[in-house]
Structures are given as structure tokens and as C-alpha cells.
């Protein structure tokens, strides 16, 4: 299957490892990701704090460009995914709003018609055919590795068509396909604090602390995420949390695409494993099959 790929701003910088590993693993399982040419920011949450119509316009421009390519759009970031899916639904259902925004999009030779669909990257990895292909590709089964699946918020909420948003299991399925063990812990869909890490730091640190504690209490060796902001919040602030709460967290947090790629036997450097602040390298090397 071919999709138009919307990496989003974070994947160009702080979450490069997600971008690189997404492209490699997608290619392996036969998912073609053609980067959307000249995409722009989805508006994150901050744009919606200032002007909603402008924020929807940002997303509509990306959707219209994907439509021009006649491809469905795939976003690896949960916030980009949620914003574009929400925009697509709202514009499809509100003719006045669509007309208003289409008038503006004309300035860039674009139109939103509502033909394209919006997917999160993980959606195109968890179809039955893709899961079967993944199973066949696993060269380093990660047997015995205890992985905490972390969903966060916006991949699930608000509810937009996904079945089980209170207790989802698609990430667990992917983890077990890689041979690792997906641990069960109650906070897997609890928020990481999002942009509060910048605007309300103490609040976000407490939210992250709760998550890290819950996952480690249940015996997690590492956490796997589906969103760049979740990864940053869970991983990069452990030092501050340790100082503030007297804890000793040093828990690797990386992307599901890196876990899969590693299980496929792709060299860890190619997946940018090791660009984390708490490297999972040591933990993972024991799973590499001797040649």
C-alpha cells in the first residue's frame, strides 16, 4: 500500500529516530511512504488556543495536498494525526466551514474535497496482512524483554472511530509479534502532560513520574511510544524527576518502529537507537543472534 507521509515538525529534529525507523520498517513490510511535499505544521495544541479556524486551515492545507496526490495520509505523531483527522471529519460535515477554508486554500491552488483518509502510522502496521509480514521478518525475537506499551492520549482520544479507547491492545499485539512481552499496567492511556512540560512544568513532571513509577512497578524494561512528545516527556525529564522525587529512574523510552526494526535485525545505528538519553542499547544487545 502507498500512503502520503506527513512526518510533522518533531520528526525533523528531536524525534529523528522515529522518522528514520518509520521509513525503514515501513519499507520492509511493504508499506510505501511518499513524503507529502511542502507540508506545514498541524497546529499542535497551541494554535487551537488562539484561533480555531486558522488551526483547521493549517491541517486542511496538508489534507488537500495529500488529496492531490490521490493518497491517504499517514502521520506518526499522535497530535498531528488527531488534528488532521478531526479537521477532515469537521470539514466533511460542515459545508460552510469547508467553503470558507477552501476559499483560502485556493491561494495555494488547493482544494479540500474530503476524499482522503487519515491514519496514524501504527494503523498501517497493524493490519492483518502487515502483522503476518512482521511475524515473518522477525530475526531477533526479543523473548523475555518486558515492554510497557504507552498509548498516551491523542492516538485514542477524542473518540473518532477507534473501537476500544479505554483498554486498547493494538500496541500490545505489535510488541508480542516482535517476540517481546507486553506488560499490563493501568496507566497506559494516561496523559504524559503534553506541552505542559513547557508551560506548567511541575504538573507535567508529576504526571510523568506517575507513569514511570507505574511502568517500573510492573516490571518494565523499557517503554515503547507512538508519539514524539510522549517520548520526549517520558524520557528526557527523568533526571529532573529523580532529583525532585528522590527516585532512580533510568528507563529507556523509544518508538515502536525502533523495536520492530531491531527485531527485524536491522543494525541499531540505522534505527538511531542510541540517540536517547537513557540508551536501550545494553538492554537490547543480549537479544542479537550470534552470526
Amino acid at each position: 500500500m502507498k500512503y502520503s507521509y506527513f512526518p510533522g515538525c518533531s520528526l525533523e529534529t528531536v524525534a529523528q529516530s522515529y522518522d528514520v525507523s518509520a521509513r525503514i520498517t515501513a519499507d520492509k513490510i511493504g508499506v510505501e511512504l511518499a513524503e507529502l511535499d511542502d507540508w506545514n505544521c498541524c497546529g499542535a495544541t497551541a494554535y487551537f488556543h488562539v484561533d480555531e479556524i486558522l488551526a483547521l486551515t493549517l491541517c486542511a492545507r496538508n489534507l488537500a495536498m495529500a488529496e492531490k496526490m490521490e493518497l491517504d495520509i499517514v502521520a506518526p505523531c499522535s497530535a498531528c494525526y488527531k488534528n488532521m483527522l478531526e479537521t477532515s471529519i469537521r470539514l466533511k460535515n460542515d459545508a460552510d466551514l469547508r467553503e470558507h477554508i477552501n476559499l483560502a486554500l485556493k491561494e495555494d491552488g488547493l482544494q479540500f474535497g474530503g476524499q482522503g483518509r487519515v491514519f496514524h502510522l501504527i494503523d498501517v502496521f497493524t493490519g492483518n496482512a502487515e502483522l503476518q509480514r512482521i511475524q515473518k521478518l522477525v530475526a531477533n525475537p526479543l523473548k523475555g524483554l518486558r515492554v510497557a506499551p504507552y498509548y498516551g492520549c491523542q492516538i485514542l482520544r477524542p473518540k473518532m472511530g477507534r473501537e476500544n479507547i479505554e483498554n486498547p491492545d493494538f500496541l500490545e499485539n505489535l510488541i508480542s509479534t516482535s517476540g517481546a512481552e507486553a506488560i499490563d499496567y493501568p496507566l497506559k492511556t494516561q496523559c504524559c502532560g503534553g506541552s505542559l512540560i513547557a508551560t506548567k512544568n511541575p504538573v507535567a513532571l508529576k504526571m510523568v513520574q506517575n507513569l514511570l513509577k507505574c511502568a517500573t512497578d510492573k516490571g518494565a524494561d523499557l517503554i515503547v511510544t507512538t508519539c514524539p512528545l510522549c517520548q520526549i516527556n517520558l524520557e528526557c525529564y527523568q533526571k529532573q524527576i529523580n532529583r525532585q522525587y528522590g527516585t532512580q529512574f533510568s528507563l529507556p523510552v523509544f518508538y515502536f518502529t525502533q523495536l520492530l526494526g531491531f527485531a527485524f535485525g536491522i543494525p541499531k545505528e540505522d534505527l538511531l537507537i542510541g540517540s536517547e538519553m537513557h540508551s536501550p542499547v545494553q538492554l537490547l544487545t543480549r537479544f542479537v543472534k550470534e552470526a
Partner: protein
């Protein structure tokens, strides 16, 4: 002469959602507050915010910290038995406060959001280091050191770029945004 709309009506105009119920139908059950991961840091819980809006106690709401503690996780929204889009209400309140330049003193959220919008209008993309100035000096010296040392580590790991990226058709991009007339209440 037309009557000045009360606060509840103003919030309703700003909650331009397709579905979902107006806050009049709230039964004050507190499911929102019980589902909120940030409630312990709020001065009023989400349930109380709805009660305050309905009581037309505008200033208690707009100067509260609650609005800026909401991380948009939508836990309240998906669980509300009356289908009130509480997260959208929080967005509406944020817009209200930012537009009127009235909010809790020292709140970083409004500055952060304004700066974010300026940046996106300028380049079409978000750029973390450009946003850092809105918060990095606001958590004391310790916070500043933490932020700087994290920036350094991210640079070292090549997880941060020195120059912001810009969309290619930036002129067209800005023309698109300029065609949008902001809807909602008058300032």
C-alpha cells in the same frame, strides 16, 4: 437594545464544535474531574469550572489556573455521560483569555501559544528552540540550568537543529492564512 450576552453564552459561541451538548445539560456528576490527570493542580476542578460558568462568575473562571493546567488529553470528554465536549470548553476558555489579554498572572501558557502561532505564521513549521524563550527563564535558576543542559544534550545527540525550517511555498502559505477571517466574539 440588544442585551449583552452573559458569560455562558460567550463561552458557547467559542465552543464551535459540531456535536456535543451545551454545558446547561451538565448534571455535576464529576466524572470529568475524576478522570482528569491534572486535577490535583487545578484551583477549580473541571466540574467546578462548569458550575462557575453557569453561575456567571466570569472572573473566577478566567483568572483560574485550571484552564492552563489542561493538557488536552480528552479523558473528561470521552467519559462525560452528557456528551459535553469539556476539552473544547477548555480550548474556548483559553481563546477567550488570550483574545482579551486577561488571565492568571504569571501563566506561561498564553505567551507560549502566542509565540507558537507567530512562529507558524512566519515559517509554516514549529521549532522548539524558538519557543524555549517563553518558558526557560520562568522556572528559576535551577529550571534555566536544566533547560540549557537538556538543550546541549539534544544538540550533541543531533536531536536539535540550529536553524528553523520553512515551508517551500511560504508566500502562498501566508496568503492562505490571510484569507481566513477570524470568527468568534469581537475583542
Amino acid at each position: 437594545m440588544a442585551e449583552k450576552p452573559d458569560f455562558q453564552k460567550e463561552v458557547a459561541t467559542l465552543m464551535s464544535v459540531m456535536d456535543g451538548n451545551p454545558i446547561d445539560v451538565c448534571i455535576q456528576c464529576g466524572t470529568c474531574s475524576g478522570s482528569c490527570p491534572a486535577v490535583e493542580y487545578m484551583d477549580y476542578s473541571p466540574r467546578e469550572i462548569i458550575a462557575l460558568i453557569r453561575a456567571d462568575l466570569r472572573d473566577r473562571v478566567i483568572y483560574s489556573d485550571t484552564i492552563w493546567c489542561c493538557s488536552s488529553c480528552y479523558s473528561c470528554t470521552v467519559r462525560c455521560p452528557k456528551n459535553i465536549k469539556i476539552t473544547e470548553m477548555m480550548y474556548a476558555l483559553k481563546r477567550y483569555c488570550i483574545w482579551k489579554h486577561k488571565h492568571k498572572r504569571g501563566a506561561i501558557g498564553p505567551d507560549f501559544s502566542r509565540k507558537f502561532v507567530k512562529m507558524v505564521v512566519k515559517t509554516g513549521k514549529s521549532y522548539e528552540p524558538g519557543l524555549a524563550t517563553t518558558f526557560m527563564f520562568r522556572y528559576g535558576i535551577r529550571g534555566m540550568i536544566d533547560n540549557m543542559s537538556m538543550g546541549m544534550s539534544l544538540l550533541q545527540k543531533r536531536r536539535m537543529s540550529i536553524v528553523p525550517k520553512t515551508v517551500k511555498r511560504i508566500k502562498n502559505f501566508r496568503k492562505v492564512l490571510n484569507r481566513i477571517i477570524p470568527l468568534g466574539v469581537e475583542q
